[in-house]
């Protein structure tokens, strides 16, 4: 049985036990009708999903445990945080460390019972009316994930760390994870998220995150994508913003074999700001695809987009940045940049800015570059005694610096520095 049929069958078997039955039913019909995207779809032209979906996956795995020590390798430990962890798709009490007086942080399945009004009001509401098959699939089949609710006038002092582990699985696994983040007026929160497989078996995750940023809120969301090389991830994030609020989503892609990020912002209130930044540093047989969309539906908003990619060996990168400025969205500022370093002849990047501007009093810019490391700069560093590899690494740090310097959690910045140094195979202690 192919994956699509298997998913539909699984839906039919569990349908009656799930909430949001109508939405789920509509969604599974979309999958049924349109199937998985292929390279014939404009949005998937450079990213071939076929090798991933033709694999045989189980759709769930039995419960398992991982040790606290292992958890610590993948989270920030020196910063006071709230940790919400899942193993094989199930919430893990043992690993989670939630101490919240002012905010709500719990598994989504629990929120459906305890905070049903909020969940009812928001679940699925940031998604487009006609989502693509993968978002539809998640809507139809997702059962678990994270629920974050930050009430009005509340600053969530501790960053929230979300970790999805997989381990001890008997066969390759396809997971649907779902996050719902609601940040009320004048509230603030910082969130990190990662998906981490510990097993030799392959894991394919199709994730949907909805973020609601109400008036005057401030949200920083950091995605750390450094999974094992046998993992694939499709990360769909939909952000809806009210007035005068700032939402930032930074994506750091180092691991995994196949990553597709679909990141969309809808600016519905004036004087708001959307920031999206990313560092991609990948090598042999890896693919990272960033598809972003900013919809300036109202006037006087700003969006800033900065993606940096470093591609070694036969790594493949894709960037597609769409900015939509609606006819009445005057005084829009939209900036987009995508800079890439190709370290070898067989590495590649397909980059496409896509600006659709229907208002006439706006400032929009975009730029993409593809290049190699500067020989003059390399020689300069080497002439100061810095070995070739370290010199290369230093220049790559420098290249990625604009993105890293914006990370607001110091320990996270350090951790990312370490991951980058490790990826580059150097031991240099430079802070950027």
């Amino acid at each position: 049985m192919n994956l699509k049929d298997k998913l539909i069958k699984a839906f039919q078997e569990t349908e009656s036990t799930l909430s949001f039955q109508k939405e789920r039913k509509d969604s599974i019909r979309r999958l049924e009708e349109f199937g998985f995207p292929t390279v014939k779809d404009e949005e998937w032209k450079y990213t071939n999903l076929l090798p991933i979906i033709k694999n045989e996956y189980a759709l769930s795995a039995s419960e398992s445990l991982i040790s606290k020590n292992l958890l610590d390798e993948y989270i920030l430990t020196e910063t006071e945080t709230n940790v919400i962890a899942f193993v094989n798709g199930e919430f893990s009490h043992e690993l989670s460390d939630i101490d919240t007086e002012k905010i709500t942080l719990c598994p989504l399945s629990l929120a459906e019972k305890k905070h049903s009004t909020v969940v009812q009001n928001y679940w699925g509401k940031a998604l487009p009316e006609h989502p693509d098959s993968l978002v539809a699939l998640n809507t139809a089949l997702s059962k678990e994930g994270v629920f974050v609710h930050v009430p009005k006038n509340t600053v969530a002092e501790r960053p929230i760390q979300i970790v999805y582990f997989t381990t001890n699985i008997s066969s390759d696994l396809f997971l649907q994870t779902r996050n719902l983040v609601v940040v009320e007026e004048n509230a603030q929160v910082q969130i990190t998220e990662r998906h981490q497989n510990i097993d030799q078996k392959e894991v394919f995750t199709n994730s949907v995150t909805e973020i609601f940023a109400h008036d005057n809120s401030l949200i920083d969301f950091y995605k750390i994508q450094n999974d094992k090389r046998n993992c694939s991830l499709i990360d769909n994030t939909w952000v809806k913003q009210g007035k005068n609020c700032t939402c930032t989503v930074d994506t750091f892609s180092f691991g995994g074999k196949f990553i597709r990020n679909n990141l969309s912002f809808l600016l519905e209130g004036q004087y708001s700001e959307s920031n999206m930044r990313g560092i991609t540093l990948i090598g042999v047989n890896q693919l990272v695809d960033h598809h972003t969309l900013v919809d300036h539906a109202v006037a006087n908003c700003q969006s800033n987009e900065m993606y940096k990619g470093i591609f070694d060996d036969n790594a493949k990168g894709v960037f597609n940045g769409k900015v939509m400025v609606r006819p009445d969205s005057q005084k829009t500022n939209a900036f987009q940049s995508n800079n890439n370093l190709l370290l070898t002849d067989s590495a590649s990047i397909d980059t496409k800015p896509q600006l659709e501007i229907y208002a006439d009093d706006v400032a929009c810019s975009h730029g993409c570059t593809v290049g190699q490391l500067d020989d003059d700069a390399l020689f300069y560093l080497r002439s100061r005694g810095i070995p070739f590899k370290e010199a290369q690494a230093m220049l790559m740090y420098a290249f990625a610096n604009d993105v890293l310097s914006n990370v607001k959690i110091p320990e996270l910045k350090q951790k990312l520095n370490r991951i980058i140094a490790e990826k580059l195979g150097v031991q240099i202690d430079i802070e950027v």
Binding site: D374, R382, D402, S405, D429, E431
Partner: protein, 251 residues
């Protein structure tokens, strides 16, 4: 210390150096002068090991050993320092981190432990004072947004930190106003000792009023066509290069 014999080098098929002979001993200051395009910067790049240049013939020995097969970093570890005519801007790498990496990589190559942070900072402060560099300098991105004078001062600051045996200063005076020139020259003079040597590559005689050379060489068409004492530099200042070029072409 540095012994260059019949050095010939080219880049992308263009012959730039056509037979250089140079002998630099500890404690000496040599000035290499010459018109534009004579091969001055190529010579400094080739000594420092820039790989884009192809050495076709000749030898370069440093402290009695050939350095022809050594990478730029290995030459730096042996004590060769090149001050760049156009120092490269590297955003995101601070001056202090760059220096720390540079110094500790050299120490590592010599089998030494990294310098303790406190000692390093103390050393940086001392050398900064020498070059009249302000405090906030260390945390700035390397050369980014630096004025011409700041870039050159930063080069000599690095030299002061790395304490090379042989310093090659490529057009260190270009783009400097008179105050900056005085500070840079003063720094270079203070760092001179009987054990190290300096090669000044310059277009103008001006720098040589501040750093007095023991020998002056004139480079033309990739060869040293005339050598002399500091008086030669004065003669060049007065009469230009034409007479030397004529003399050289007659030979």
């Amino acid at each position: 210390m540095l012994k260059i014999n019949n050095l010939k080098a080219s880049i992308e098929g263009n012959k730039i150096l056509t037979g250089i002979n140079l002998d630099v001993k500890p404690g000496e200051v040599h000035a290499i002068m010459g018109p534009n395009g004579s091969g001055k910067s190529t010579l400094s790049s080739v000594i420092a090991g820039r790989e884009e240049y192809e050495v076709e013939d000749g030898t370069i020995d440093f402290d009695g050993e050939s350095i022809m097969d050594l990478s730029p970093e290995e030459r730096a570890h042996k004590g060769i320092f090149l001050s760049f005519q156009y120092p490269i801007e590297i955003p995101g790498v601070s001056v202090s981190n760059f220096l720390k990496t540079s110094l500790n990589e050299s120490r590592k190559a010599q089998g030494l432990e990294p310098m303790p942070a406190g000692d390093l900072l103390k050393m940086m402060r001392e050398k900064m004072e020498l070059l009249e560099i302000k405090k906030g300098f260390l945390s700035r991105s390397l050369n980014q947004g630096f004025s011409g004078g700041e870039k050159k001062r930063n080069e000599i600051f690095q030299m002061a930190m790395l304490e090379p045996k042989l310093a090659i200063l490529d057009e260190t005076d270009s783009g400097l106003d008179i105050d900056a020139l005085r500070i840079v020259a003063n720094g270079v003079n203070k760092l001179k000792s009987k054990d190290n040597a300096t090669v000044l590559i310059t277009h103008y005689q001006r720098l040589l009023d501040y750093i007095v050379p023991d020998f002056v060489h004139v480079l033309y068409n990739g060869r040293i066509v005339k050598s002399g004492t500091k008086d030669l530099a004065h003669e060049l200042e007065e009469k230009g290069y034409d007479w030397i070029i004529k003399e050289a072409e007659q030979l």
